[in-house]
Subunit: 210 residues, 4 copies
DNA sequence: TATGAATGAGCTTTCATTCAT
DNA sequence: AATGAATGAAAGCTCATTCAT
């Protein structure tokens, strides 16, 4: 799950568990600070203070500020993705999967409005230039989202729909992200979750090839 | 209207024209640097060097780094909006307007792939906090986009379509922005302009209420 | 009179007179700005703007900021001294001269409360280090003050007083300057001119050697 | 009372004592640099170099240049005042107190000739504008001086003298400060301490109302 | 002669990172 | 292992001075 935890939790000793605990405390603190003002306005001292550790301690767990930021982002994105994977694996009908996908994403946006901002920060240069592995990993996860949607639309076409899976996956993600952005900007008339049925209708309404 | 529109050389002296020229040179240089590494990684020294001016000169034309950034963003966004307004005013049928809108946006994305990143940078906290007038002005322009699309979908409904104009304006913008983002990230299979007909079909296909 | 004016005003042409006029305008403007915030907070641009000249023009009349400041100070101090000399030359009795001295100084303080501050600024380092000629000239004028007072007290001793001229000249100047400082600081209960008789009484009262 | 008086090493840990030590080292270095060229010519880099610390370290102990300057001034002034208070509290006769006051001030001037300049710098505009608490605190201490002298002269009047306490306090301070200034400027024939008896004679000589 | 646009050295201040304890 | 004092490079911005017009 976590890239730095031992895979076999049976063999973890107290030491390892405490270490992982402190690591997560730091990540929690860092996420809070990063969400407040973005990467550049966060300082290691603020994060250390929030985490109730010394500044030096942060560097025992993470190589530098960028590495800490990367872990925060990826932990959140992976948490989102894992929840999505778990959810979709419970259903096999594409209609149900599409509904769950839209519900899950918009519920997440509702609960974690800063998430969108945090994710958008990835496209910034310093992370671009100096920590390309983050952007790569993020791209992969973004593509996983698109692939899930494409598979759904491919299934739909087997039921007589005529979606362009490539375009529709982009359009669906784009629509959901636009709802998130506009919500974050305060431009939305309704809460994100109230758009669920509208989005589904918009996708499915009258699209069947008969 | 447009703050850069005093191009009436009839009433401008040589001084004014040269002043405006230098101002645009600085804005060009700043845009280049800002696009490369984002607001925070850009330094005034880099911009000055790129513009082939001394650092002090930048401060003769702009009050500070933020002000310069704001002008860069707004110049670009307003240029986009003005082109859009001019274009749409030539047609009155909603179908034609929608087609022009999608074409215009995707053509722009094709020509200026950095534009999306530049615009996304606005949502960052520091600019948020310290220069709220930028974010306000940007919001207004974003809402103008949405309003144009809503008007188009309202017209469409008079022709028997059953669009939800609110949702469809968000979805259309979101889809176009997603194409822009994915293009910028290198995740797109085709160039943005190749998605034009797909997007239009996706919106219009089978949506008529009959 | 003015160190930069031709001595023979008969031979001054229009050019010379206009030049001197502009010079004084700049000095007036500079004095106003220097008095407002001191030497370091004044900028050449402010002074130029106040004088309604271009910045470059300032450098046609004065070598640099320090030189301009020096001229401002010395013009004021010399004006003070010249007025004092003229005034004292009208009387020969030491009692009258002492009275005039005290009156003159305190009236000046009343009219030009910033004068004290301006003069104190001389002791600052930049002028100290880089323009020692100013401090020297100022010292000379300060010593002229002390000498005038010493002469008065020497005369007084011939009338039976037992002043220590050296100490009394310092004490008298110090008292008058203290009134000026405290007035400038807003710590004085009465206006400077209301201290005139008190100061004279304090010096003369019961001092006669009988 | 005195902000630097936490010298009770009983209750202080090693950390606290070392912290206070470094703080004083920085203040010493800053005082040296400020005395040399005044507030504006001093740079934080010079002070850091003199203190043998990095520049950043200065900002761990003081909020900014102005704060550092304020502490330097107030440390010195309060040290002067505390010594004065302690000294005067040992005697109750006004004659003795006046003698001690004059001696103390002139001895201080002798030992710390830069002190006067440092104090005069307070009256400068920038410090005036931006750090008004310094000027306020300084005014209070100056007024404490004047009050001490006024009390002395009020006592004297009970013994038959006819001093104007208000004026005499100003005159006495002014005289002592004038000795300090002239000494600093190199205009004095004798060392400050050699003026002690002269000043006392000047004040008391023949002043009794009989 | 008068100008003011252009300059760039130099300032204060911040903060990620290190390392002695 | 945990600390946080110390660091110093690097940033934004100012302004006295110059010089082409």
């Amino acid at each position: 799950m976590n890239r730095n935890s031992n895979h076999n939790s049976q063999t973890q000793g107290r030491k390892e568990r405490e270490w992982e605990l402190r690591r997560q405390e730091i990540l929690d603190a860092a996420q809070k600070i990063f969400e407040k003002g973005g990467y550049f306005n966060a300082t290691m001292a603020q994060i250390a203070s929030e985490a109730e550790f010394g500044v030096g301690t942060l560097y025992q767990f993470f190589p530098n500020k960028q590495g800490l930021f990367a872990e925060v982002i990826l932990r959140e994105v992976e948490s989102f993705m894992q929840g999505l994977r778990d959810l979709l694996s419970t259903r096999s009908l594409w209609q149900e999967q599409l509904k769950l996908f839209v519900e899950y994403k918009l519920t997440w946006v509702d609960k974690r409005p800063e998430f969108q901002r945090l994710v958008m920060e990835i496209f910034y240069a310093p992370i671009h230039d100096v920590a390309p592995q983050i952007i790569d990993e993020f791209k992969e996860l973004h593509m996983e989202n698109l692939q899930i949607l494409q598979d759904i639309f491919i299934q739909a076409n087997k039921d007589g729909y005529t979606f362009d899976p490539d375009l529709m996956s982009i359009a669906t993600m784009g629509t959901l992200n636009a709802i998130a952005s506009d919500w974050y900007m305060g431009l939305l008339k309704k809460a994100p979750i109230e758009y669920i049925s509208g989005v589904l209708n918009g996708i499915l309404g009258g699209k069947r090839d008969v």
